[in-house]
Structure formats: structure tokens, C-alpha cells
């Protein structure tokens, strides 16, 4: 959905008043003077101002290599850049998958055999501390993440970014502006992974700063090359960034950006309503329409996000494909998206999220059909249903509103005779338990995840990545799928790879190995003053284009 630039209202007040306070409030609004709606064209972008963003949790470390999670990456991304970037200036409608564009590397070549990547670096780029950006800086950073023999090797960075560097053989500075990376095997997703930030990201840190502050302290002194530079951070209160006046590219309009962690959804919405922040992430679904009514803008997108269930293949009930299919049929994804989530998500029928080169709409799979589900259950010998457990977190990054959603599923499944108990855990604990694999006795586990590369599918279905050695938490194993995914991963060009990934996705669908539920639209709610914000097909955004009216 396109961001609307010209909605009325700045810092509108909430309209509903409790009866007892009506008179008082009327008095106050009379004195204060209600904000007049100032409709009209947005006008030309103008520089200046401070943008305050209410984010859904405090951020992790401001060290791009070490940091995990989207929330942190959204901050780090404004300060750090990787060799390769994604074009985030287009909405999901304009570009369902962000295009890979030059970042700190102006251009690159991949050898025929897919093993050697040569990056030609941008000239005249300096880090925020004045250090020049060059090939040595790149090598320094890559070795920090991947070379245990390196003085500044950091095992946490390595752990976070292993998905990027797992096939790296070596990295060398050919000349001050050229870096060469050699792979042990072809790795078609490599360039896309360089742009990702869900886990660790590959933003380039000033080697001078790293050497000065060390691996642990660098997070307190973020020093990158990005459009914004770090000002200060008061943990739990704010992170302030300011415009990098020396930025090599298009300079931001904003003087500064403040990220304010507001973990409680109601508080976040309140802060926006009260004008304390200009923009919030993850509004509670129920607040979206009333915020819109109150004159706020809602920017949604179609990021590579999938809220899905993994089945426990070691469970005697769920090892039966008919049961898995029945569950898939029994869930009313439309209803959940529209009624419960108030249109902040789209129903998901494909295990590959839309923002993905291999995505194709696959509605033929598992459209809501409770009768079909009952039949399948009867065939499987569960005419009277059965009892099972669904594990879910109570909150967490990208989880939307996991408990109400799980309750929704619970009710849908109850309609076809499956009696579900919910096992709810706080996010971080849940992550650990989830990563250990679905325990015996529990039939399903919920997670939300996704990447713009279809390579992601391997994470959750490959038999080699069964938990606890990977994220295939349901211990799904399908040799045919493994084979296809191996080919896809090592394919030399993206087109071939995508074709293979589509086949892989089809296998997963056929086997009903997962139950995709919804794709988040990642809504952001903005005050009418915020202009130029683009919500792209990613879990993060770029702030250089944003300006304040």
C-alpha cells in the first residue's frame, strides 16, 4: 500500500471521552483550541526537524555484526552500510522484492563457477570518525565475522552471521578499492544475504573505531558510513542519530532521528496520539482503524514475513499427512486477517512469503474448508478429533499478537474436533525452547520469520537443519526436498535457483509440512507531519527520504 502523504490532521486528539470527563475535556479542548485539519498538498520536501519513532522494544547492541533482530537492525541500518544494498525507496506495490543495488561496493562481478565475488568499492567514502573506507576496512570486518585466527575475531559476530559467511573460503584486498571473496561452493543467495539484517548484518564498521574500542565496546560508539551518525543512547529511553553531513550519497532531510522504545502497544499508540512520537511501529491491530479515523496515516507493505505453524513430525498424530492437511484446511486465514487482525495482515497460503523472488500465489492450497478437514481427519482415523498442544510465544519481534492468533486457531481447530491446549511462553524463553525442537506431546509450534531470499525455506525444512542444529523444529525430513534445495542453493544464477525454489515450495505444500497462516503487512502509523516515508518489502526501512512538514 502506498503511503498517503496528504491526510489531514497533526497530532489529533482522541475523540472518545468517558462520560464523566466530557465536560472537563470539552473545557480543555475549548481552551486549547482543537487542531484544525490542515489538508492540502504536502509541498516540497524540506530539511530539518527531529523525527521521533516509537519502536516496539529496546534495541539490542548497536553493533551490526553482533546484533540480532529486526528492531535493532532498523536502527543500525541508518548508521551502517553493507557492500551491497537493497533499494528501499519503493513500496511493496512498486517493487514486491527490493532490488539489489550498490552499497559501499559500486559494482561487483561473480565468476562463472560462482565461487569468486569481486567487489569494486566506492571511492571517497569516510567513516563517521573520519577514517577512510577502503578494501582493508572490508577485509577487517569480514575477518572479524569469520576468521578465528584474526586478532579482532568475535565469536558472537561469527555466530550471528554464520548464515552469510558459511561458505566463505577467503577474503582479500586486491587493491585499496577492490575486494575479492572466494567461496567453497557456489552460493546463489550470497548477495541477497549481504543485504539482510534479521540476524547479524554485514554493515562495515570503522576499523579504527573497532581497534580503539574493542569488540565489546564498539556498540557504545557506533561508527559506520551511513546517512545518519550516532549521537547518544540512553538505554530504555532513546537512541538519537543525526544527519551525517559528510554522507557520500543523498543526504537525509531530517536533522535527527530519535528511536524511542515503547514496548507496550497501548503506550505506543498513546504516545503517538499525544504527539510524543511522530511514528510508531507495530500498532495493535485494533488501534489501526481508529488511528486512521483520527487522521493518522498508516503505511503498510508486504515484507518477507510469514506467521506459520510447524508440525511435529515425530508426533504419531502429526506424522500423518492427512492430519497436517486437515489443520491447514481448518484454519480460516481470511477471517483471522480481517476480523481479528483488522486487515493488518494478508492470509498466507504459501510457505514462501510474497516478498520473495520465488513466490507465487498458491491459493489452491488449503483454502478454508472445515468440511474437507473433517473428512481428512475421519480418513486418518480421528473422526472424533484428538487433543494436542500448540506452543507459542506471548510477544516478540514480528509475532504480531501471537496469543489471540493462537486462540483463534484453537477455536478453528475445535470446530473440526481438534482440541488444542496452548503452551505460551515469553519470547526469549520461547526462542530457546523453540530452537530445541518441538517437544514430544506438542503437535505444533508457531513462529514468524522470512527473508527476501527463498533460501530461507531451507532453514525450516532441511533435514540437515533439524533442531537443535537448525530451525527445522518439527524434524521434517524429505530427501526429495533436500535434493531440490541443495540444487537451488548451489545454482549459479538466480533464475534457475528461483525455479528450483518454487519446486521446493511445492513439495512442502504437497506434504503439508508447514501451515502458513498470515503475512504481516508491517504497518507503521505516522502523524500527518511525517512525509516521504516508504514502507518497502522488507522488515526495515530507510529514513533518508523522510521529511517533516
Amino acid at each position: 500500500m502506498l503511503t498517503t502523504f496528504d491526510r489531514r490532521g497533526r497530532r489529533p486528539r482522541a475523540g472518545r471521552l468517558s462520560a464523566g470527563l466530557l465536560a472537563l475535556a470539552l473545557l480543555v479542548s475549548a481552551c486549547g483550541g482543537a487542531d484544525a485539519a490542515d489538508d492540502g498538498p504536502a509541498g516540497d520536501p524540506q530539511s530539518g526537524g527531529t523525527l521521533a519513532i516509537g519502536i516496539e522494544s529496546d534495541t539490542d547492541v548497536l553493533d551490526p555484526h553482533r546484533a540480532g533482530g529486526w528492531v535493532t537492525y532498523r536502527v543500525n541500518r541508518q548508521m551502517y552500510e553493507a557492500l551491497v544494498d537493497e533499494d528501499l525507496s519503493k513500496t511493496s506495490e512498486e517493487a514486491p522484492i527490493p532490488e539489489i543495488v550498490p552499497g559501499l561496493a559500486e559494482s561487483w562481478e561473480v565468476s562463472e563457477d560462482g565461487l569468486t565475488y569481486t567487489f569494486h568499492l566506492r571511492e571517497g567514502v569516510t567513516f563517521h570518525d573520519g577514517t577512510d573506507f577502503d578494501a582493508d576496512a572490508v577485509v577487517f570486518n569480514v575477518r572479524r565475522m569469520s576468521d578465528p585466527t584474526f586478532e579482532f575475531y568475535d565469536d558472537r559476530s561469527a555466530g550471528q552471521t554464520v548464515f552469510v559467511w558459511q561458505h566463505l573460503q577467503s577474503v582479500t584486498a586486491v587493491d585499496p578499492l577492490t575486494v575479492e571473496m572466494t567461496m567453497k561452493q557456489p552460493f546463489s543467495a550470497f548477495l541477497r544475504l549481504l543485504t539482510q539484517g534479521g540476524g547479524g548484518s554485514t554493515g562495515i564498521i570503522s576499523p579504527t573505531a573497532l581497534a580503539e574500542y574493542g569488540n565489546d565496546e564498539i556498540a557504545d560508539h557506533p561508527t559506520g558510513t551511513g546517512p545518519f551518525r550516532f549521537v547518544d543512547r540512553v538505554r530504555g529511553q532513546r537512541i538519537t542519530l543525526e544527519r551525517n553531513e559528510d554522507y557520500w550519497g543523498e543526504k537525509p532531510y531530517l536533522d535527527s532521528v530519535v528511536f524511542r522504545p515503547l514496548p507496550d502497544p497501548s503506550t505506543r499508540v498513546s504516545a503517538l496520539r499525544a504527539g510524543e512520537v511522530d511514528m510508531i511501529a507495530v500498532p495493535s491491530p485494533d488501534s489501526v482503524s481508529s488511528l486512521e479515523e483520527a487522521g493518522f496515516d498508516v503505511a503498510t507493505s508486504a515484507p518477507p514475513h510469514l506467521w506459520y505453524l510447524a508440525f511435529n513430525m515425530t508426533d504419531p498424530i502429526f506424522s500423518d499427512i492427512r492430519v497436517r492437511q486437515a489443520v491447514n484446511y481448518a484454519i480460516n486465514r481470511e477471517g483471522m486477517s480481517e476480523d481479528l487482525l483488522r486487515g493488518t495482515t494478508n492470509p498466507a497460503y504459501s510457505v514462501l512469503p510474497p516478498a520473495n523472488s520465488a513466490y507465487e500465489a498458491s491459493e489452491e492450497y488449503f483454502e478454508y474448508d472445515p468440511e474437507r478437514a473433517k473428512e481428512l481427519l475421519a480418513e486418518a482415523g480421528y473422526a472424533d478429533g484428538f487433543e494436542t498442544t500448540l506452543m507459542t510465544s506471548v510477544d516478540g519481534s514480528g509475532q504480531i499478537v501471537p496469543v489471540p492468533m493462537a486462540e483463534y486457531i484453537q477455536q478453528d481447530l475445535a470446530d473440526v474436533g481438534i482440541r488444542v491446549k496452548l503452551d505460551t511462553t515469553e519470547w526469549i524463553t520461547y526462542l530457546t525452547e523453540w530452537a530445541e525442537g518441538i517437544p514430544a506431546g506438542t503437535g505444533m509450534a508457531q513462529m514468524s520469520w522470512g527473508m527476501t531470499t527463498p533460501y530461507w525455506l531451507r532453514n525450516v525444512t532441511s533435514s540437515t537443519l533439524q533442531a537443535p542444529n537448525g530451525s527445522n523444529v518439527g524434524h521434517y525430513s524429505n530427501p526429495a526436498l533436500d535434493e531440490v534445495m541443495q540444487q537451488a542453493a548451489t545454482a549459479l544464477d538466480e533464475a534457475t535457483a528461483d525455479e528450483l525454489w518454487r519446486t521446493a515450495a511445492e513439495i512442502v505444500h504437497e506434504d503439508a509440512a508447514l501451515a502458513p497462516i498470515v503475512n504481516d503487512k508491517a504497518p507503521y502509523v505516522l502523524s500527518g507531519d511525517v512525509q516521504g516515508f516508504v514502507n518497502p518489502s522488507e522488515e526495515w526501512y530507510d529514513l533518508t527520504s523522510v521529511w517533516l512538514r
Partner: protein, 318 residues
């Protein structure tokens, strides 16, 4: 006095040691692997093992505890597992914020709770007394987080008098005035339960104080009731009030979690809650230890104040 302080300090250290052992033991039992959290779902078993070894989490428990204690003695509070930042840098500012919130709440408790209790006591069984005591009980029975949201909705959104959350304006962090504006709502909400407790206690000790023989003596000497109540009876009732206020500090320090969450107050309570669930041992250890320390010190001060208030014990302390 010196001897007394030394004894109390000794027992304080024992209490704190006990607290640290307890925290350590409990946290061993909390499920969830901090390293897994740290490295995310794509991390491999080897990289996890490497980080665990790096952090010393693979050592036997006793050894972990001893080395922790060793560090503590040298003033080293370790580094947060999830935030990769020295614990002191995280815990101290947040402890400071929590203390600001607790102090704000305490001021409200005292300004409202004590007079309410005194007035109720002087009008024992009157409509005012019953009303005030009923209200204070009701206050103590309200789910705080719900009350917090109602308060935000009324005073911040409907009326727009005060900010909804946070400690400072993020765009232009102001000074004390800005802080105070942000403090009012969370402090008032946090104060509800302790105000009720203090009001009720004040009432009951004042009722007792007003029944004492010397109060009758004052009445027999024609001393005006107001002077009797506020000068003599309250002075006599003060020691138990001071004690309960000390205990309320403990409640406030640990009990403001809900307030901190709803008001996004960057305090230690909320931090500890997150850290418990993410198994961030060093933060929890330090956080709980410092809360315990503040609690113990505040109560020591309360004891000393009580002793100083009472001329019968003043010499023992002074």
C-alpha cells in the same frame, strides 16, 4: 552508634550474600539459553558452545558463583549477556530511574497517606473515616496496569495535561521540569497501593496514640484538639509510620514493574523482568543485589530515624 552500625552492616552483607546465592540458584532453574538468544535461530551448535565457553557458562555452578563473587568484590559486575554491555552501565542508570520513580511515589504516599490516616483516625467511624478507608482498600485492590492505562487515557489523552509515558521528551529532553511532568502519572499510579497501606497504618496507630494517657492529660489541660492531633499524637505515632514507609520502599522498588512497563519508564524493574525471561544472569544478579541493597539501607535509615525520633532510644543511637 559505631558498633551498632558495624553490626547492622555485617548483617546487611549477610543478607545481600544470601540474596545473591538465591538469585544465582533460581536463575539456574529458569529455562532458556541466553547464548541461543544472543546468537539467534540460525546459529550453529558449535558457535553456541564457543560463546558459552567464552562466557564461562560451561563451568560448574559453584565455580561460576565463586568467580562471580570474586569479580563483585573487585567491583566487576560482569557484562550483560544479551546486551553485551558492562552491567554497571545498564543497571545503575536504570536503578537511578527506578529510585526517582519510587521517590516520587513515596512523596505522594506521604503527602496523601499520612494526613488521610490522621484525619480518619480523628473522625473514627465517621463517614469520612469509612469512606477514606474503603477507598484506600479499593485502591489496593485495583490491578495496577489497568489503572495505569485508565490514568493515561484520562490525563494524557483526553485532557492532554501530562505526557503519556517515558521520562523525558525525546525530541527536546528537558531538565527537571520535563522530568517532573513525566513523573506525575507513573508516580501517582505507583503510589496507590502504598498510600493505601500507609493511610491504613497511620489511622490505626493514630487511633491508638489518641487513646494514650498523656493525650487525655493534654485534653484535661485544655490543649486544642488540633494541637493534640498534629503535634502530640502524630509525633507518638510516627515511629511505626516511618517503619512501614521503609518497607514500602521495598515494595516500590520491586513492585513498580507494571508501572514501568505501561509507562515505558526505563527503570530497573522492567529491565529485570526482561532479563529474568532472557536469562541474563549478570544483570539479574546485579539488579536484584542493588535493589536489595537500597532496601536494606533504606530500612536501616528508617530504624535509625525511629530511634532518633524517640528520646527513649536516642542515646542508644546518638
Amino acid at each position: 552508634m559505631v558498633g551498632y552500625l558495624a553490626r547492622r552492616a555485617g548483617s546487611m552483607i549477610l543478607v545481600l550474600l544470601g540474596v545473591s546465592v538465591l538469585v544465582f540458584l533460581i536463575m539456574q532453574l529458569v529455562p532458556g539459553d541466553p547464548v541461543r538468544t544472543m546468537l539467534g535461530p540460525t546459529a550453529t551448535a558449535e558457535s553456541i558452545a564457543a560463546v558459552r565457553a567464552d562466557l564461562g557458562l560451561d563451568q560448574p555452578l559453584v565455580q561460576q558463583y565463586v568467580s562471580y563473587l570474586g569479580g563483585l568484590v573487585q567491583g566487576d559486575l560482569n557484562t550483560s549477556l544479551t546486551m553485551a554491555q558492562p552491567v554497571a552501565e545498564i543497571v545503575f542508570p536504570k536503578l537511578g530511574n527506578t529510585i526517582i520513580l519510587a521517590a516520587g511515589a513515596l512523596v505522594i504516599c506521604l503527602v496523601i497517606g499520612v494526613p488521610l490516616g490522621v484525619l480518619a483516625a480523628t473522625r473514627q467511624y465517621s463517614l469520612f473515616d469509612r469512606g477514606a478507608m474503603f477507598l484506600s482498600l479499593a485502591g489496593a485492590s485495583v490491578p495496577v496496569y489497568w489503572a495505569a492505562l485508565v490514568v493515561i487515557s484520562v490525563f494524557a489523552l483526553e485532557l492532554g495535561w501530562l505526557p503519556t509515558s517515558g521520562m523525558y521528551d525525546v525530541r527536546e529532553p528537558g531538565g527537571l521540569g520535563d522530568l517532573l511532568r513525566h513523573l506525575v502519572l507513573p508516580a501517582a499510579t505507583a503510589a496507590v497501593v502504598p498510600t493505601a497501606v500507609i493511610a491504613r497504618l497511620t489511622r490505626s496507630v493514630m487511633v491508638e496514640a489518641l487513646q494514650q494517657d498523656h493525650i487525655r492529660m493534654l485534653r484535661a489541660n485544655g490543649v486544642p484538639e488540633r494541637q493534640i492531633v498534629w503535634k502530640h499524637a502524630l509525633r507518638n505515632a510516627l515511629p511505626p509510620i516511618v517503619n512501614i514507609v521503609g518497607l514500602q520502599v521495598g515494595y516500590l522498588l520491586g513492585g513498580v514493574i507494571f508501572i514501568e512497563v505501561v509507562f515505558s519508564w526505563p527503570g530497573l524493574g522492567g529491565q529485570l523482568y526482561t532479563s529474568i525471561t532472557s536469562n541474563d544472569m549478570p544483570i539479574i544478579q546485579a539488579g536484584v543485589l542493588f535493589i536489595a541493597l537500597v532496601f536494606v539501607v533504606v530500612n536501616l535509615i528508617a530504624d535509625i530515624v525511629v530511634a532518633l525520633l524517640d528520646p527513649r532510644t536516642r542515646e542508644a543511637v546518638g
